[in-house]
């Protein structure tokens, strides 16, 4: 019995299934992979590329890889693939640097608490936000005492023992936290009506953004001491953090300036009309709105800064990359650069990718909030 799709009395037409091959697996393949000749060729090429990658990668990464060996020749004796033994043997160093074994719990606790402290900043809807923010403010002191020690019977640890992923997190988090207030001031300065304030802010921002970070780190390691009173000599780590702070403050200032410029002029007019002063307007009208729209940008700046912490290896600090280079300098592991660098790359990829996902999520959330 053949259906005639066009033979129904008006108002009685039922919903019919779509023509075959337009939905379901076949339809999807047809639409997304083989919709035209050029598309089909592209698909086949992609498949071939993927095949090469998987075939070559899998054998090197997994099938022929060696996890347990004492040195490179030991690896080669077993199989020809990747020699992950270099990572396995030094895994602890990649995470904790040369931090004393017995004290490593302090790093773990600080790292865990970091998430507690960051939660109310990153998830605006969290419960008990007010109380958690108090903790966020206290966190820097808690973390400092925990990691550096010297108080409450905690063993004092020299900063030259810091290293690995822990060093990356310390430099990254400290710099970004310090650069936020500085960045806000610079952004306000750049938007200021006062010419002089504006000029100073612009010069600072453009200088920091105009030169490569590595030159600033060289400045920190070679000539910063000249600018301080004779005899002051402080820790390289702190000097690096200061430079990183200035550097990211300039970028954050530009992000926040974007946020400030996105606020409609009417907001300032309304604030003027009800009689708020400049600082009241800044505090109640400008910053709450500007900061909120800048959060994704700030997170992206943070991702950039976090990646840039690898540069400290050039002036002799031992972040994960530095630990990797130290391992490669060891005659036992000489030449295993691909394994080492890939491992560090994967660490960075996982953390940065997670952060950029968060930033995207936040952007979407902000654009649907309230209006």
């Amino acid at each position: 019995m053949a259906f005639d799709k066009n033979n129904y009395a008006p108002g009685t037409h039922p919903d019919l299934p779509p023509p075959p091959g337009t939905v379901g697996v076949v339809g999807w393949l047809k639409n997304n992979l083989f919709s035209s000749l050029s598309n089909s060729i592209l698909t086949l090429l992609s498949m071939y590329l993927l095949y090469l990658l998987i075939e070559g990668g899998l054998s090197w990464f997994v099938v022929d890889a060696v996890v347990n060996a004492n040195d490179k020749p030991g690896c080669r004796k077993i199989a020809d693939g990747a020699c992950w033994a270099v990572i396995v043997k030094r895994f602890d160093q990649f995470i904790y640097g040369f931090y004393p074994l017995a004290e490593r719990w302090r790093i773990d606790v600080s790292f865990f608490l970091l998430f507690v402290a960051a939660a109310p900043l990153l998830y605006p809807d969290i419960k008990f936000r007010k109380y958690m923010l108090v903790f966020s403010c206290l966190y820097p002191f808690i973390a400092f005492i925990l990691i550096k020690g010297g108080l409450f019977n905690l063993l004092m640890i020299e900063t030259n023992l810091f290293g690995g992923a822990m060093l990356t997190v310390i430099i990254g988090v400290t710099s970004i936290a310090c650069s936020l207030p500085l960045g806000i001031l610079l952004a306000l300065g750049r938007q200021s009506r006062l010419k002089l304030v504006k000029v100073i802010s612009v010069c600072f921002i453009e200088f920091m953004r105009g030169v490569p970070l590595i030159t600033l780190l060289f400045v920190a390691s070679t000539m910063l001491n000249y600018f301080l009173p004779p005899g002051t000599n402080f820790n390289l780590l702190i000097r690096v953090i200061i430079m990183m702070t200035f550097f990211s403050a300039a970028y954050i200032a530009e992000v926040i300036r974007g946020g400030i410029q996105a606020i409609p002029k009417g907001q300032y007019e309304a604030a003027d009309a009800i009689g708020l002063t400049y600082w009241q307007t800044t505090r109640f009208i400008t910053l709450p709105q500007a900061l909120k729209i800048s959060i994704p940008g700030i997170v992206n700046t943070f991702i950039g800064l976090y990646k840039d912490t690898t540069l400290v290896v050039i002036i002799g600090l031992l972040d994960p990359l530095g630990i990797g280079r130290a391992a490669l300098a060891d005659t036992k592991w000489n030449g295993l650069s691909t394994e080492t660098y890939l491992f560090v790359a994967v660490i960075f990829f996982i953390s940065c990718f997670a952060m950029s996902r968060y930033s995207l999520w936040l952007e979407k959330k902000l654009s649907t909030d309230h209006n």
């Binding site: 409609p264 009800i274 009689g275 009241q280």
Partner: protein, 250 residues
């Protein structure tokens, strides 16, 4: 002109203003009496919005004098503070603060400018929100309200400062037709309380109903001013006639 008494609250004397080299306001002379309700109309670009924005110094005039409540408008910040807390303003695009709730929008200035305790400010805000008939929206954010409701919140926000003068800058032109009425009704009620009002609007019905005086502006000048009755029935200037014919016959 016929004002209710000789107690002027706003005096504008030979005032000029330029935007760059463009002469927006030319020799403006205007006196507004206590409790007087003035409607300013005119084609777009005629300088009517600029005029009322000069009264609370959102725009700075270059020549002439403006005094509000006997205080001269100048670079003096203390005087400016005093004037701004006495003059309320309602904008075409509402300009509510989107990150603050309706209640917070209303209490912000009383708390920080009038230095009122928070509890008192909130009571005051609720009182005015009731007067504009949206007390139930107090906890919502501006983005969750309709345009008409937002504009009524803006009126309440201005009233919370207990101003002596209210300026309205085209309060209904960003609204959908069905919402214009609710805002106009609020304004009519406000007029009935004896508030001094300067309203820039094209709502001629409103002008006929509440205005004591209608001012027609064109190309930066006050062309004609009169009581609504005479203004609409016997306009003297040709430009006024043209404008009225355009606005009334569509």
């Amino acid at each position: 002109m016929n004002s209710k008494n000789k107690n002027y609250v706003i005096k504008i004397n030979e005032m000029h203003k330029w935007f760059g080299s463009f002469h927006v306001l030319k020799n403006i002379n205007l006196e507004v009496g206590q409790g007087e309700r003035i409607v300013i109309c005119g084609p777009s670009g005629s300088g009517k919005s600029t005029l009322i924005r000069c009264i609370n110094r959102l725009e700075v005039h270059q020549e002439g004098h403006i005094s509000v409540n006997g205080i001269e408008l100048s670079g003096d910040l203390k005087n400016l503070e005093a004037i701004r807390s006495d003059v309320g303003m309602v904008f075409q695009s509402f300009n509510l603060f989107p990150h603050l709730s309706v209640l917070e929008n209303c209490t912000l200035a009383p708390i920080w400018v009038r230095k009122m305790p928070k509890k008192d400010a909130e009571e005051l805000a609720m009182e005015y929100l009731e007067r504009v008939k949206i007390p139930e929206q107090a906890k919502k954010f501006p983005g969750q309200l309709s345009g008409g409701q937002q504009q009524r919140v803006a009126i309440a926000r201005a009233l919370c400062m207990k101003p002596k003068i209210m300026l309205f800058d085209e309060p209904t032109s960003a609204l959908d037709p069905e919402m214009i009425k609710e805002v106009l009704d609020t304004m009519i009620e406000l007029a009935e309380t004896g508030m001094t009002m300067l309203v820039v609007t094209h709502e001629m019905g409103f002008a006929k109903k509440v205005a004591d005086r209608v001012i027609f502006m064109d190309e930066g000048e006050i062309i004609e001013q009169n009581t609504p009755k005479l203004f609409f029935t016997k306009p003297t200037n040709d430009r006024t006639k043209l404008f009225l014919s355009q606005i009334l016959n569509h």
